[in-house]
Symmetry: C2
Subunit: 274 residues, 2 copies
């Protein structure tokens, strides 16, 4: 007799719940990516799409947090600023950036928050053996991603940071945040440059999808330069293509994304497998 398939193996009464809270929700990639990371660490856990309307946020999210088998939430557009009010304890990056993207239940029942957009970039570099301490860093783009990246890098003790954005007010604001993290860093605003820098980072949208432009005027880089692009699609942006043809070390947007998932999964309570 053929056996009817009575059950699936990936969810049970013991499954620990996590969710990504956003509006809209259908386009998010976190459920499949975080759940894969949880499973790779042997955790009986799943990350779900929680669609919350902005007018329901203050009712629905605190209610979700009352479920004893829900251990963490991540936040995406448009809730990253607003979610700060839910935390009992706010991490050093989130405090400076003024937004969170992860909230985890502590053993004592309180909730701690942090933002990992920039920490993911630092983690991507760390996994390639590249540290920011003592380095001269050029960052292009001071929007949401660029701000989080600048603040996370500032915590790593670089010697010098030059910031560029078409919006000068954003650059001034971000320079103040970097100085607030570490007063020893020489921070300046200025045009994109590569000569005299160790690490060049692009956190602007220039080079995304069909955009064939470079975010910096250059024909060739020194092979000593490390070049990073936060863009995920295409995987090899025009900037990264130039860096590769110049013999530079490159770090890709996908490495930042993986680094962020790994660091957030640590934060959500799952230790890496030895």
């Amino acid at each position: 007799m053929a056996e009817h398939v009575d059950q699936v193996s990936y969810v049970s009464g013991r499954t620990r719940l996590y969710g990504i809270v956003g509006h809209p929700i259908e386009q998010v990639r976190s459920p499949e990516m975080f759940t894969a990371e949880f499973v790779s660490r042997q955790a009986e856990a799943i990350l779900l799409p929680f669609h919350v309307l902005p007018e329901d946020f203050d009712c629905v999210v605190p209610a979700l947090m009352k479920m004893p088998n829900l251990d963490g939430l991540i936040f995406t557009i448009p809730f990253k600023q607003r979610a700060m009010a839910l935390a009992d304890e706010i991490g050093p990056n989130a405090r400076i950036v003024g937004a969170i993207n992860a909230l985890a239940r502590r053993p004592d029942g309180g909730w701690q928050a942090e933002i990992f957009d920039g920490l993911g970039c630092v983690e991507g570099f760390r996994r390639r053996g590249i540290l920011f301490a003592g380095k001269r860093v050029m960052l292009i783009g001071a929007g949401g991603a660029g701000s989080a990246i600048a603040v996370a890098i500032a915590h790593e003790g670089p010697e010098h940071m030059r910031l560029f954005d078409l919006d000068q007010a954003r650059v001034s604001d971000l320079a103040d945040k970097v100085r607030a993290v570490d007063g020893n860093i020489t921070v300046e605003s200025g045009d994109p440059a590569h000569d005299g820098f160790d690490i060049l980072l692009n956190a602007s949208p220039v080079g995304m999808l069909e955009d064939s432009r470079l975010p910096i005027a250059a024909d060739r880089f020194s092979p000593r330069l490390t070049v990073f692009d936060a863009i995920v699609k295409p995987e090899t942006t025009p900037l990264l293509a130039l860096a590769e043809s110049s013999g530079c070390t490159t770090v890709r947007g996908r490495e930042m994304m993986r680094g962020q998932i790994a660091r957030m999964t640590d934060f959500l309570g799952f230790r890496p497998q030895a």
Copy 2:
């Protein structure tokens, strides 16, 4: 280069959410069983364990229902009565039994409720080609499961129903509910019997796990009798063993469970595959 497993296939931003609400929650089997049924119907949906403390019920459950990508809830101990208040429309079984175990979002945004504990039993019989219409039925046990089974059978037009329970008040109450469904059924209370009956149902705990007792005094049944046991463990109870050795048709607790899952999945909005 070996590819890192970046994602799982069973959850995404488009996954529709369902949950079982209970306290405690770790022992429930619905997540793995309902999700398997959803998947067998090609639905991009999952049923999760939602652990809700009794003191949080009135805050948490209405909040869950505000999420636009949550389409249904099922309820277990201790919430089956209390959950009735959440429904805009209550089905015929739930109205008589005074409890619900399923709540589904209607296309107009309202919520409809029904109880399927008894409908699962009727469905298990239907799948074996056995109807209750015109039959003489003996039911042992008038607790939660027995009441739901009696009310569901009453909707099928049996000729006669005898009810037995050690608690006489329960039997009287249940007899009134059966008459409320269909005044044409001859309802009586009386000791367990098999002579002169077409269908014998056990909804008492006698014969569960290590209990080797029969719920009825008998050495042998007529092979014309159909015998049902609501007990799931063991699969073959002492009652079912006697029925099989007598040449009777038997219907098992697991068939009721499968019937209930199928009927509830219809109710939650997933059409069976042709």
